[in-house]
């Protein structure tokens, strides 16, 4: 999996992934790649749960091997010069936009998965199940907490749609705020930048 996909996964986990990137992420090339993505997804959640103290015991599933296997240097997710019909400018203002207000400095709403003290991947003994987190919109940094259930495709799709939708609301609102406030020296940097998200500092251990 590429760095970019890791970043997208992180963003998705925090509910900050825009629909464009999500489509890219899920476009899924082959089974191995999808498996690797799921593995990484699981691990991100485990790591987060661990940090939150949410998990008692869980899989000593060593996914590092799978991740390593899947760490191929594939072609970077398209930043190609071909502008597709669906490609949006990273800042797409509405009429009457006041730019200082529109300071489209791409700010990712919320954060990527950059909490401090991200645990290095550990070998954990325990049962082989992975904790399932039920989808709900909770009061937290990201709009949703997605369920981690790689088996149920339909449910996953539903969640992704919910995620996309929330992100689109946030983005649309950020754009409107920038426009509507009319205070030219008061940019609201809440616009989600779809295409140039900040790279997540993926801890070295994850990439082994």
């Amino acid at each position: 999996m590429s760095q970019k996909q890791n970043e997208s996964l992180s963003a998705l986990m925090d509910g900050e992934l825009d629909e464009m990137s999500l489509h890219r992420l899920l476009k899924g090339d082959d089974a191995a790649e999808q498996a690797a993505m799921r593995a990484t997804w699981s691990r991100y959640h485990l790591a987060r749960d661990t940090m939150k103290g949410d998990v008692d015991q869980f899989a000593g599933v060593d996914i590092s091997a799978a991740v390593s296997a899947a760490l191929v240097d594939d072609a970077p997710l398209s930043q190609s010069s071909v502008v597709s019909a669906t490609r949006k400018p990273w800042w797409k203002p509405v009429a009457g936009l006041s730019v200082a207000a529109s300071v489209a400095f791409a700010v990712v709403i919320g954060a990527h998965f950059t909490q401090d003290g991200l645990q290095p991947e550990q070998q954990l003994a325990g049962k082989t199940e992975i904790k399932i987190v039920t989808p709900e919109i909770t009061k937290q940094k990201g709009p949703t907490m997605l369920a981690e259930n790689p088996v149920n495709g339909a449910q996953q799709q539903e969640l992704q749609q919910a995620q996309q939708r929330l992100n689109s609301y946030l983005k649309q609102h950020a754009q409107d705020s920038a426009i509507g406030q009319g205070r030219t020296a008061m940019p609201f940097a809440r616009v989600v930048n779809f295409e140039t998200q900040e790279p997540v500092q993926v801890p070295a251990t994850i990439n082994k």
Binding site: G15, E19, P89, W90, W91, K92, P93, V94, A95, G96, L97, S98, V99, A100, S102, V103, A104, F105, V107, V108, I109, G110, A111, P135, E136, I137, T138, K139, Q140, K141, G142, P143, E158, L159, Q161, A162, Q164, R165, L166, S168, Y169, L170, K171, Q172, H173, S177, I179, G180, Q181, G182, R183, A185, M186, P187, F188, A189, R190, E195, T196, E198
Partner: protein, 339 residues
């Protein structure tokens, strides 16, 4: 940054600035908080300055370099992200250029016939419905004398808003959105702010090497397309008719935006926006095909409240997004009546 001013010019600039500061100081003494705020609305767009500001929200921080001015009645601006990929935005009146990190330039013309074209800056009268204006001063931000205008909510339905205005230019040097528990939800602050006297087109040319801004307008963006794009990507394929709806409750001071176009804006539009003059929220009403969960989420300064309601056998999803307290957002969502 590369703002070079000839040394002789600097002396002149210093002298002129000095004079203007004195003059401004004398004129400032009688202004009320409302007066300062209105002055910002009037004067800040015309100001010529360069600077670096930071925006903080939800644990994130972004630094941006900005150059601002007005030429022949048009606002010119150049913004450059200083962290991460070097995204740049250049504005010349209605023409907006987005320069991507890969040096690709995207040009967007802002049509003047969109719903926001006639949007005038919020009047202080509207603001006074929801906020009490308080003036504090003198303050010092980015090394410059400033005053603090505090917008204190008259009810618990909105957040506090504080804005520090540069005494000389009336530009907002700092602003904070603070909830009623005193927590800062969002902060915007100049770390470096320097007015310039001499106009120079070069100040607004791209910092990226070898980038040329084209002059032919690219695609036109209109509000409806933006909304459609934002929503269409996530809606299911079948296009269900949008339900007619209204809000049964609106906090004091909030008005629907683009009300000038209200006649055109059919009652069936999926999204409506409301503002009290300083904060805004949007309400989306859409058919719901999946994910029937209600809930509230906070992302930085922005809150999202989702509710589902049944109407004529169809499940609908109501979403309220804005920089308002959770309780307010929930109450607004609950007050949506489908018709």
């Amino acid at each position: 940054m590369n703002f070079s001013i000839p040394s002789v010019g600097r002396l002149v600039v210093g002298f002129v600035l000095g004079l203007s500061v004195v003059g401004t100081a004398m004129a400032n003494q009688s202004l009320t908080a409302e007066g300062w705020y209105e002055r910002m609305l009037q004067e800040a767009p015309k100001a010529q300055y360069q600077g670096i500001f930071t925006h903080q929200s939800g644990g994130q921080s972004q630094s941006v370099e900005i150059v601002h001015g007005m030429k022949e009645g048009l606002v010119w601006e150049r913004l450059l992200h200083l962290d991460g990929p070097a995204r740049e935005v250049i504005r010349k009146g209605e023409q907006l250029y987005c320069i991507h990190p890969d040096a690709r330039v995207e040009q967007i013309a802002q049509p003047t016939n969109g719903p926001f074209a006639a949007e005038s800056m919020a009047s202080t009268q509207q603001l006074q419905q929801g906020y009490e204006f308080l003036l504090h001063g003198p303050k010092r931000i980015a090394g410059r004398p400033a005053v603090l205008v505090q917008l204190k909510p008259k009810d618990e339905l909105r957040h506090h808003y504080l804005v520090w205005l540069d005494q000389q230019t009336s530009v907002a040097l700092k602003s904070e959105l603070v909830n009623q528990r005193g927590q800062v939800l969002e902060r915007y602050q100049f770390n470096y702010f320097a007015p310039y006297e001499q106009w120079n087109d070069n100040l607004f040319s791209p910092r990226r090497q070898g980038v040329e801004l084209e002059t032919t307008p690219a695609q036109d963006v209109d509000a409806d397309a933006t909304v459609a794009d934002a929503q269409g990507a996530v809606e299911s394929l079948q296009a269900a008719p949008v339900q007619n709806w209204k809000l049964n409750w609106l906090p004091v001071g909030f008005m629907q935006k683009d009300s000038a176009q209200a006649a055109q804006a059919n009652a069936h539009d999926a999204r409506r926006m409301f503002s009290d003059g300083i904060v805004m929220f949007s309400v989306y009403v859409e058919p719901a095909h999946e994910d029937k969960q209600d809930g509230v989420a906070q992302v930085g300064a922005t809150v999202l409240a989702v509710q589902h309601k049944q109407w004529q056998g169809l499940e609908h999803r109501i979403t309220v997004v804005g920089e308002i307290p959770e309780q307010t957002a929930k109450r607004i969502a609950q007050s949506v009546e489908l018709m």
